[in-house]
Amino acid sequence: MPQVPLADYLILATVLFVIGLVGFLVRRNPITMLMAIELMWNAGNLVFAAFARNFGDMTGQVFVFIVITVAAAEAAISLAIVVMVFRHREDVDVDDISVMRG
């Protein structure tokens, strides 16, 4: 079976990371922004898994599991916060959420 070279994984992960970052910067809906952040977290996961496979070392894969678990907790908390904000106004657009200035 032909092996995919490590560099390809790293390039793919970097592309995912940049897509996530750009998505976060250009989108104005917090839920979409959170999805973009998930993409960045998973880009990191991909790098961990690729190196773990390359080294023949389990640590990187364990790290991936830990990141996935924390990401679930993070998603629960961030969505709860979005719901809390949404209850107090009709629309959620981060540009409108700016009582505080200065």
């Binding site: 790293l10 992960a13 990371f17 996530g20 970052l21 976060f24 917090p30 922004m33 959170l34 952040i37 960045m40 977290w41 880009a43 990191g44 996961n45 790098v47 961990f48 690729a50 190196f51 390359n54 080294f55 070392d57 640590t59 990187g60 364990v62 790290f63 830990i66 990141v67 924390v70 907790a73 993070e74 908390i77 961030s78 709860a80 916060i81 979005v82 809390m84 904000v85 107090h88 981060v94 959420i97 700016s98 009582v99 505080m100 200065g102």
Partner: protein, 472 residues
Amino acid sequence: MIQSVAIDWNVIAPVVVLVATGLLVLVVDLLSRSAPRQLLYGIGIVGSLAAFAAMLPLRGQELTTFGGAFASDSFSWPFDVLLLLTLTISLALSCLGKAEDGANPGAYAALLIFCTIGGLILAGATTLIGIFLGLEELSLALYVLAGTGYPRRSSQEAALKYVLLGSLASGFLIFGMALLYGSAGSISLAAMSHAAYAGGPLFIGGFALFLVGVAFKLALAPFHLWTPDVYEGSPLAVTAFMAVAVKAAMFAVLARFAYVVFGHDASALVPLWILAILSMIVGNVGAIRQTNLKRLLAFSGIAQAGYLVLALAGVGRGGVATLVFYLAAYAFMNLGAFAVIALIGNGDELHADLSAYRGLAFRRPMVAALMMLFFLSLAGIPATAGFIGKVLLLGQAMGAGPWGVAMAVALIVGTLVSFYVYFQVIWQMFAPADAEAVASDGNAAVSWVAVAAGAVGVLLLGIVPQLLLAHL
């Protein structure tokens, strides 16, 4: 073959005590819905003191557990003490009549305790997994705490901004950690020092992304944009906790990383020195126009984070002692200032506004004198902890080559600018009160204890610094 990892429970006793306290608070809250919130916070304070008692036998020992992934050593010990002190004072300030806790005191107290556990893990972490888990435990709980004043719009806004930008920073951190793992072939910081020695694009890229994540949590410029809004929107006791505990925990990580990974050669840390200089400029200049004390202290915190980096300049000898001393000074003066804000308004958010301090020196001379003490210490006037701390920082930076000197100059210029900021607050207290000044007659005993703790700390460290320095 599965290897069993021996766990030395003594080493993680403080963490275990805090976990038990957090769960106990939740159970008590569940069983008696009508329990007064002071009882729940009281349990938290007792648990925090018990965790401190559990730490006493660990002092001066170099222990590790979880296969070397968690350390309790002379490095982590002082950071742990600062974290527990902050937890105690924040819980005490939460007891006040008008303090906000989202009408759910059990969850609120448990979250503050879990935050502190995250900080303890960060201070003892010697691998990337420990750093990641500690950081996320600290952050996830704080995202919720920022929103506990939620009928207030600014609190909702604080929670949303914090969770979005905090998760973004974690994204940088994870990607950076993955590259560091790739460069070192291991997640332990000790192994990373070899990779640092060899250099290479993987390590440099990984460290850069890691630094972005850490700088965000520390509110170093230019990653500080969330700080003023989150500090202003969060409930008062949470802001006090955020200002001190997060900085202490993150500086523990940064210092351990700097000393273990870059101990032999600090030249790769130049980006950190640049962030420090930027923070000193942005923090002090940004504070000038603020009329809300929480916001003003947020900008002050950005500048102080920049000062604290000087302790690591050149990764030289005595750096950790300097760092701990200034962090202790920072903790006492900030907790003291937040405690005064809580004291006069009985925990009310309105008293974060600078206008509430007009004429305070005539109405409540004792409170005004204490507030003045904390702000003089923030400015770095002799006989206060802030002065000794800045002298130590300058000494550390001057011996660390051209970048050290550049940072020392930035500290002096920043301090001069900050005189204007802090004296403005003091000036307000001596200005004649206007007719619509909000009443500021809060007098709760518990807030007096917090103020007194801050004042004693600031004066003791300012007049007899040997008390602490002899033990570092």
